[in-house]
């Protein structure tokens, strides 16, 4: 029997969902009539119009912006540069004015500011096309990110932050492709390391912001996206260090060390502070990838016969995934038993 009244309260203040009601019906706690009524109330309580309104706003704005991008991509020969710039500038100013008038507390204002941020990119592209500046592509993205950084900062809009982060990523990737040497391996690893650190900084910023009560950072999904990206960027060099001799370079070792530190910090934070199983699972998937790569190299390198290596490798993979899964399940159960602080 659960005697703790706090735990009962905590459970009863959780948002209702169809699956929980179905489980109660299946366990015989609710009869068919009660179940049907509960499901009906749940559906009726959903903020349908808010949701539809937001969806129309996002899809509508995305389509209009795509139309604008396609319009300038068509590269009208008949349209003079002045007219092109005037059109973009008018649209940009309209978005900024709209955002200012609507206010950044409302979703429409945030979306308008995001549109303005995207139009800055269109303006830079048209500028590059018109004056043939000869600038590298990475400069476009870095310049774009720098120009809109102020808007991003004041937007209080997670989607705008992610878009900005994506621009910075593109700038870094293109810098590596266009500027750094291709004869050595380390610039590639350096790129992964920088991208991973950028995403980790994003995760940290989101967690700090959420902790300080920023309502726009309350939803966890931006953190999951950034953590997944960070782990991908750090797992690749770590796996390469394990498997490919050519990658044995101080930069790769540094990337692997960063991976280890990130996992350690991630475990502590998502286990004891934020208590987020999905983030822990992302960390576990990263560990799975590196450990399985390491085992694969060891097994296939040590055993001459492929059949024996395959058999051993298969069991090892099961052991690793079971071990990680077991740890995740135990952790989840332990987290569920602890009251939220």
């Amino acid at each position: 029997m659960t005697e703790d009244p706090n735990r009962k309260d905590e459970v009863l203040t959780r948002p209702a969902d169809a699956a929980t009601i179905e489980s109660l019906c299946e366990a015989g706690h609710l009869g068919p009539a009660a179940c049907e009524a509960a499901q009906g109330w749940l559906r009726a309580s959903r903020p349908w119009w808010d949701w539809v309104s937001r969806s129309l706003l996002f899809v509508g704005a995305a389509l209009v912006l795509s139309g604008v991008v396609f319009f300038f991509a068509y590269n009208w020969a008949k349209m003079g540069p002045v007219l092109k710039f005037v059109l973009i500038d008018v649209a940009l100013l309209a978005c900024v004015a709209g955002a200012w008038l609507t206010g950044l507390d409302r979703i429409a204002g945030k979306v308008l500011l995001l549109c303005a941020g995207l139009l800055v990119g269109v303006l830079l592209v048209v500028y590059g096309q018109t004056y043939q500046t000869g600038a590298d592509a990475y400069e476009l993205f870095v310049g774009w990110a720098v120009l809109i950084a102020g808007w991003v900062l004041i937007s209080r809009f997670a989607a705008f932050w992610l878009m900005w982060l994506a621009l910075v990523h593109l700038g870094v990737i293109l810098y590596r492709v266009q500027i750094l040497t291709h004869e050595e391996r380390w610039p590639e690893i350096l790129m992964f390391l920088v991208l991973g650190l950028l995403d980790l900084a994003g995760v940290a910023a989101r967690e700090i912001g959420a902790k300080r009560g920023a309502a726009w950072l309350a939803r966890r999904w931006p953190g999951w996206v950034m953590l997944a990206a960070a782990l991908v960027f750090l797992t690749i060099p770590t796996s390469l260090l394990v498997v490919v001799d050519e990658y044995q370079h101080p930069v790769t070792v540094l990337a692997a060390a960063t991976w280890v530190v990130a996992l350690g910090a991630g475990y502590w934070f998502f286990r004891y502070r934020a208590r987020d199983l999905l983030s822990l699972t992302l960390c576990a998937l990263s560990v799975f990838a590196v450990v399985v790569t390491w085992i694969g190299k060891g097994v296939f390198g040590a055993l001459e016969e492929v059949w024996s290596a395959c058999l051993l490798f298969g069991f090892a993979v099961i052991a690793v995934s079971s071990g990680l899964g077991y740890w995740l399940l135990r952790t989840w159960r332990a987290m569920a038993r602890q009251p939220h602080g």
Binding site: K8, V11, L30, W41, S45, R46, P47, E305, L329
Partner: protein, 377 residues
Amino acid sequence: MADRPMTLGDVLERLQAGGLLDAQGADGIAEELCLSREAPSAPWFVKVLFALGACVAAASFFVFLACAGLFPKSAGALLVMGLVLVAGAAALRFVSGHVSVAQLSLAVSVFGAQLALAVSVAGHAMALVGAAGVVEGPWGDMLARVALASLILCIVLYPLHRDALHRFLSCLLVAAATTVWLVASERYHGLHVLVLLEAVAIGVFFTRWRLPQVLRPMAYALACCLPLTVLLVICINSATLWGILWPGEKAVLTPAWPSSAVLALWLIWLYLWAAGGVARWRQEAVLVAMVVTVALGAFTSPGILAGGGLLVLGFGRRDSRLLGLGLAFFPVFLVIYYYNLDLDLATKSYVLAGSGGILLVVRALLGWRPWAREGAS
């Protein structure tokens, strides 16, 4: 509309107020919810880790059997060996689910379930390869046997192999094998039948007042299959996409309208479910949604309807998995639809901006309707 989402406590209170639940029953439910929180089952993202491990291990076992010369020469023997492995895996899963060795029980259970899953996946692969080759014949017939064998295995193993992940993958396999058979044997119109079956099953599963635990893997597998099948219908329907997927091959066109019609009706069904029943069809919001859906069915691609349906279901049930599926596929279908429009870039830009503008105007106009203002307050 309440500022906060409806909680489980609110539901219990309303049930008690309506005479559908007594105080003792409400206490029992609170106890049950506390207990289920203390021993929760694995969430879907942990199952992804299990599935990944099992598939890699199954591939290794498969290669092991091939390299060790343990692969039977005849297809019949391969089929039998595959079935033996599948049966062994089900038995192993049963045993590992019931073993109890104090602290080790969870570890043993997880390892046993993982091993059983990997062996079953390898066994399925062997059995299906065996089923394909057991009788010589044209390619289409071989794939038909694979689809049939996967269906039989799914029906037999669904109650026997008591693992939600196995059940999910097994249902996914049936849909995938059927789709491959329909495409390879050039029965393209059959894809519309598949869309119909998947849509009806999803509707029945998720809109009924109770979806039993045992049927959830099947329901979610179908929810994953529907957008994928529709994606295939769109690719086959589009000469442009067909050319990208199979360069040099002649485009095979099948109309998309049967799937569009099916999915438009399906979406209307979901609206009525969300509104609280067929009797609510006269409500202005429902009528507007129905008209928009018919227009979408007539002028756009079936994918937009499929993605929209998953979003409606996910939002109505407060189900993040369905909502995530809808959110993942809806933009894909939107992009494909506009990409496929047979228009030059300039006209396409007008169409894009125009349709976006229409959505924004519709939003502004509907926002003034009494039901919208009431809903947003």
